[in-house]
């Protein structure tokens, strides 16, 4: 057996510790993060996130703000303007599915329409 060539980035909202983000690498090293990136141009993305999260405990704002931070990180590091079909976004701690108050601690992937909304929001900010 050879090692699996994948880095796994896990997210969850823990009932005890709150939002959690972990990254495991093929060597067996794992550590928690406030924000992280992996793949080509990791370092550039990390530098960008470090600037954005300077003196902060976590990425601030609503889930929309966090998703927009993620998208703008990728698009500035890669200098690409995204279209909705080019992105995949998974969230935990999003709104309740039935629209009531509070957050849903479950994990789900955003739909293309939801991704398009965020892209629109970023475009409107500029």
């Amino acid at each position: 057996m050879r090692p699996l060539g994948v880095a796994t980035t896990l997210i969850s909202v823990d009932s005890e510790y709150g939002p959690q983000l972990f990254k495991c690498d093929p060597a067996g090293y794992y550590v928690g993060y406030k924000a992280t990136a992996s793949g080509p141009k990791t370092q550039e993305a990390l530098n960008f996130l470090e600037r954005k999260l300077k003196n902060k405990e976590c990425a601030e704002g609503s889930w929309q703000d966090v998703v927009e931070l993620g998208i703008s990180t990728l698009s500035s590091v890669l200098s690409v303007d995204f279209k909705k079909g080019e992105l995949e976004i998974g969230i935990v701690g999003g709104p309740k599915v039935d629209g009531s108050e509070g957050t849903d601690s479950g994990f789900r992937a955003l739909t293309e329409e939801e991704i398009d909304e965020r892209l629109q929001a970023i475009a409107d900010k500029d």
């Binding site: 495991c24 080509p40 889930w63 993620g70 969230i91 601690s105």
Partner: protein, 159 residues
């Protein structure tokens, strides 16, 4: 061919208009993109629960909706995989098994940190075999190192 050189070629293809890749280089590039199974990709996550993938599809004929790197491991834990998609699926299926077994054994959902530790422990075992190396490394910088060194050496270098 190392992973590093492949990435450079791929970047050229992306900015073809600006960089003026020569004809032969372009042909070589087409061959490489066709022979490469997994498309180029980037992942990043921010705290407060969101993770995202950017998949740059080299082959215009691929249906983007069929390419996914985001997986749900249990109702509360999700993940994004970086690197070889084939290995990623193997790893995801193992992780789902671990999460389900934990739920069955202890009666509550497997916490994220416990699952991360379990996956890291599983990965570590592979590094104990001398001479086995990672075939597809999850990032550009680790690619060159990982193809030359055993995974155990790589772990040491990463400290």
């Amino acid at each position: 061919m190392t992973n590093g050189s492949f990435t450079r070629v791929r970047l050229q293809s992306h900015h073809r208009g600006q960089h003026n890749v020569s004809g032969s280089a372009r042909q070589r590039l087409c061959r490489r993109t066709l022979s490469e199974e997994s498309p180029g990709m980037r992942h990043m996550s921010g705290r407060r629960g969101s993770s995202l993938t950017f998949i740059r599809l080299q082959d215009k004929l691929i249906d983007p909706s069929s390419v996914s790197y985001v997986y749900k491991l249990s109702p509360s834990v999700g993940c994004v995989m970086t690197g070889s998609i084939a290995d990623a699926r193997a790893s995801v299926s193992r992780a789902r098994g671990e999460a389900a077994e934990f739920r069955y054994k202890y009666g509550y959902e497997m916490p994220c940190d416990v699952l991360a530790k379990r996956l890291a422990n599983i990965n570590q075992v592979y590094t104990q075999r001398v001479g086995t190396t990672v075939l597809a490394a999850p990032s550009e910088s680790s690619a060159d190192i990982a193809t030359r060194l055993t995974c155990a050496h790589w772990a040491w270098r990463q400290r």
